[in-house]
Symmetry: C2
Subunit: 235 residues, 2 copies
């Protein structure tokens, strides 16, 4: 049996906050637990916030804004982007410095600390997860809500991982009848992130959850989940 517990009572996170201590004060973590922390909380604690009034929009940003949108927001997105994968102004699907492909390069105004600010992804979410893992002694996932091709809606996925292998490798395993399995890797870290979202909500101010009883094995990083561009049929 797996249990998913919301971490309740966390205040609004501010730059410099000791997120690990704030979580440890509110939940009893046990060996084998997985702590899932929303990217927004991690980014705010790390000060990954920009002010629109400190951004000057480039010509490309104005073009991508398409008229109705604030071009400074597009400029903030372009600064987080290593490659534009698809664009339909003002929608930009971008590859980030981490290799993630997501809307707006993860730049988001909702749940931002104040009007006129945008929250960026952590510079190195695997390192963010690793610091929390070393501090708290449990597996840690930093999660964010990503859209995906072909299907409506977002699901939360892992953008930072420490203390568990994000992929369960089934190569060489067999089904009950003895046939080797075709699906060879399961993205358990993404499934754990999505499961945690079910108790975290979006507007509820619950930026963390604890998953108890999940199969946690090995170690790794969210960068293991990134499909190499040259192997990817969709980039």
């Amino acid at each position: 049996v797996i249990e998913i517990h919301p971490v309740e009572g966390l205040p609004e996170i501010r730059a410099g906050d000791d997120l690990g201590a704030m979580i440890a004060a509110r939940v009893e973590l046990r060996p084998g637990d997985v702590l899932v922390v929303a990217q927004k909380a991690v980014s705010k604690a790390e000060g990954r916030v920009v002010r629109l009034d400190e951004i000057e929009a480039s010509a490309q940003a104005r073009e991508l804004a398409g008229g109705d949108e604030d071009p400074r927001r597009l400029e903030a997105i372009l600064r987080e982007t290593v490659r534009i994968v698809r664009a339909r102004p003002p929608l930009v699907i971008a590859e980030t410095r981490h290799g993630f492909v997501c809307a707006s390069a993860g730049v988001d105004a909702s749940n931002a600390p104040e009007p006129g600010t945008l929250v960026l992804l952590p510079l190195d979410p695997d390192a963010s997860a690793r610091r929390l893992h070393e501090r708290l002694g449990v597996a840690v996932i930093v999660s964010d809500s990503f859209g995906r091709p072909f299907r409506h809606g977002t699901t939360d996925v892992a953008i930072g991982v420490a203390g568990l292998a994000p992929l369960e490798d089934l190569r060489g395993t067999h089904d009950r009848a003895g046939y080797e399995l075709q699906t060879t890797q399961i993205a358990v870290a993404d499934e754990l992130a999505g499961a945690a979202q079910l108790v975290m909500g979006k507007a509820d101010g619950v930026p963390a959850a604890v998953i108890r009883g999940a199969p946690v094995r090995g170690d790794g990083a969210a960068r293991d989940l990134v499909m190499e561009a040259e192997r990817d049929l969709f980039r």
Copy 2:
């Protein structure tokens, strides 16, 4: 708190089996529960299995097989395909009759009933979910493991839904600071399917799970999750 319970002790499923009765005999379902059933079990109960020796490969199937692969398997895939989205022989990413985009149009040899057979997706997985929902009185998701662009590994997603709205619509809701949320729809059915996979494993013979305490609202179908091709930037 959300709990995820595996439904244990189910035998190998055969064509004509009363899956609803078999599950009801092994787990006590309560109002508000979500029952997640693996596609493979539903397909087998519905007799959605083909024998390779009854398939004759077309020229297109032989071409897509690329030499090393059995072209009859590719022929079975083509028969389930309304559009080939990407192909790198023998890998085919296909749009199915349901609108799902997935590897091999969901055709799979692992966990097949016997050598030389392939399991196909249910003809109408929403109808399969609806029958179980009416029989058992709880929300039902039929799940399958799908790969996705940009990221390694599969996650389980909902290919059939009944008794819950697969998308949580946040349009018009606001964050703690009063800003309207940018992420407007959460694919909760996919997150529930992925969460259930964590207890179902792949080779373990646990083809169903019960999720207790999840936010279950409304009603709908997995077809609501399908992005219309003309809106999709990746088709």
